[in-house]
């Protein structure tokens, strides 16, 4: 259904006369659709987080605006748009204004390579997963810029912590994905999913894959700066961390980017470990567009897992954070890669 719309529009565009301008127009249109869909989806993720947080704490959560509070975050976003954009005296205004766009653009760029179904993928490059890792770590530049240019000590401390955290945990994210790439033998996301038709990678790779999945979820949570790794924002210590001085729409960009990043981390995990848009045991293989629901279902389950982490675990100290990464996750990860290589070499992979 959705796919046929894309194909038809593609056909319609390229049957027109001026091919060059039309292909640019097509790209712009697809980008706008992605922007629109994902800013709304990000808002609904915020709502989901708030409702789930409420349920974890035996509360009700926002349930007044719209049916069961469905329009709550829309109303919040409208309020944020209408608010005044404030700033501090002696803030570095250029960087201060630039920072939120770094964060939001890098997280939206990562969305472009995600395969929602076999056909519904905006940009299927042969270095897909590498591109995702690279893009997801660019966001930290925005956070550093925002914290540094705000002329606020809490924002600066928050931003520096974010730098430390992202540089450390980037290693674990990359290495745990590398473990899985040993199985797939390719970086292209569509081919990675193709490989999983013989069983999801977490089944194919069994023990090392499960270890890699755990490491990926831990370091992915740290990568998105969410609790229990939210040293960057640490409400009780730093006010709001790097976005203390931001208001209105610029604050909303940071906020939205955090949730889109969470979605991206969950989506990468769904692609790399749980077969992306593949249905379990191929039950809906004859209806390809149902892949969207399998992909989003798997992703949302993993998003729920991250929310579960957030509302269960207390925040780590900075030294504990670095101990966890450098003394535990990284060595385990390196051993795990060797283990996975042995598995692949001795052909101990489980294939259905």
């Amino acid at each position: 259904m959705t796919i046929s719309i894309i194909k038809n529009s593609h056909f319609w565009f390229f049957s027109s006369a001026a091919q060059g301008t039309m292909s640019i127009l097509e790209m712009v249109l697809i980008a706008l659709v992605y922007l629109g869909v994902f800013s709304v989806a990000g808002l609904f993720l915020v709502l989901l987080e708030r409702r789930i947080a409420a349920w974890f704490q035996l509360r009700v959560g926002p349930n007044r605006v719209g049916f069961q509070g469905l329009l709550q975050t829309m109303a919040d976003a409208l309020k944020l748009v209408s608010k005044e954009l404030t700033g501090t005296v002696k803030a570095d205004m250029f960087l201060y204004n630039l920072a939120p766009y770094f964060v939001i653009v890098s997280s939206l760029m990562a969305l472009s390579v995600l395969p929602f179904t076999k056909e519904l993928q905006a940009f299927d490059i042969n270095i897909g997963i590498f591109f995702l890792i690279a893009i997801s770590s660019i966001g930290v530049i925005g956070i550093l810029l925002g914290g540094w240019s705000s002329n606020n000590k809490f924002a600066l401390i928050g931003a520096m912590r974010s730098g430390v955290q992202t540089i450390s945990y980037e290693l674990s994210v990359g290495l745990s994905l590398l473990t899985m790439i040993l199985l797939t033998g390719t970086l292209q996301l569509s081919e990675i999913i193709e490989v999983q038709k013989e069983g999801w990678l977490i089944v194919q790779g069994h023990i090392p894959a499960i270890i890699a999945f755990m490491i990926f979820m831990i370091s992915g949570t740290a990568e998105t700066n969410r609790a229990p790794f939210d040293m960057v924002e640490a409400e009780s210590e730093l006010g709001a961390g790097f976005h203390t001085e931001y208001s209105g729409m610029k604050f909303a960009y940071f906020f939205l980017a955090e949730f889109i990043n969470m979605f991206i981390i969950a989506a990468i995990a769904a692609i790399m470990f749980f077969g992306g848009w593949l249905s379990p045991f191929g039950i809906t293989e004859s209806i390809p567009w149902l892949g969207v629901f399998w992909f989003l279902g798997k992703t949302l389950v993993l998003v729920f897992l991250m929310m579960w982490f957030r509302w269960t675990f207390p925040r780590l100290r900075v030294d504990q954070l670095l101990t966890l990464e450098w003394k535990y996750l990284l060595p385990i990860n390196l051993v795990n890669i060797v283990l996975m290589a042995l598995m692949v070499w001795l052909n101990l992979i489980i294939k259905v």
Binding site: F56, L58, R59, F309, W311, T312, I332
Partner: protein
């Protein structure tokens, strides 16, 4: 080897924590503690130890238990209670005796410390459960707690 046992213990305790919050999540519909206040105004009941305001209960014969000893007035740290008293003839004995005319309670000054209720020898005053204390005019916050025409219940002073 403590390295591996630490990892094992770490994972175990994390899973313990997650199972605790997971149980709360699954019971969220039943055990919800939020009161959706204006909607359940009729059925909302405050808990026993709630300190809403000081009240003086009266029985069916319009009799209260306040002897006018003024201990509460002395105990009150911010002058919330003012007892206007008088001497009258006691019907039973025919002697002149102290009795309250008006038990004035300034809710606007009250900090709900409860010293008056602790100190009352006859349990004449106690905590009320009303929490809708906002009014449009602050004179409504000065209340006379004894009902007009009420008198001391017999047998309180024995």
């Amino acid at each position: 080897m403590s390295y591996f046992s630490e990892i094992y213990n770490g994972i175990k305790t994390l899973l313990t924590g997650m199972s605790v919050t997971g149980k709360y999540f699954l019971n969220a519909r039943k055990g919800v503690i939020t009161q959706q206040y204006p909607d359940n105004r009729e059925t909302l009941k405050m808990f026993d130890r709630f300190r809403g305001e000081v009240i003086m209960p009266h029985d069916n014969n319009n009799e209260h238990r306040c002897t006018g000893c003024q201990k509460c007035e002395i105990a009150c740290p911010n002058g919330t209670i003012e007892i206007i008293w008088d001497r009258g003839i006691d019907e039973a004995t025919g002697k002149k005796k102290k009795k309250i005319d008006q038990f004035v309670y300034h809710l606007s000054l009250c900090t709900m410390c409860g010293l008056c209720i602790d100190v009352c020898p006859t349990d004449a005053i106690e905590w009320g459960q009303n929490f809708e204390n906002s009014v449009f005019d602050r004179t409504h916050l000065t209340r006379v707690l004894n009902e007009p025409g009420s008198k001391l219940a017999p047998g309180v002073e024995e």
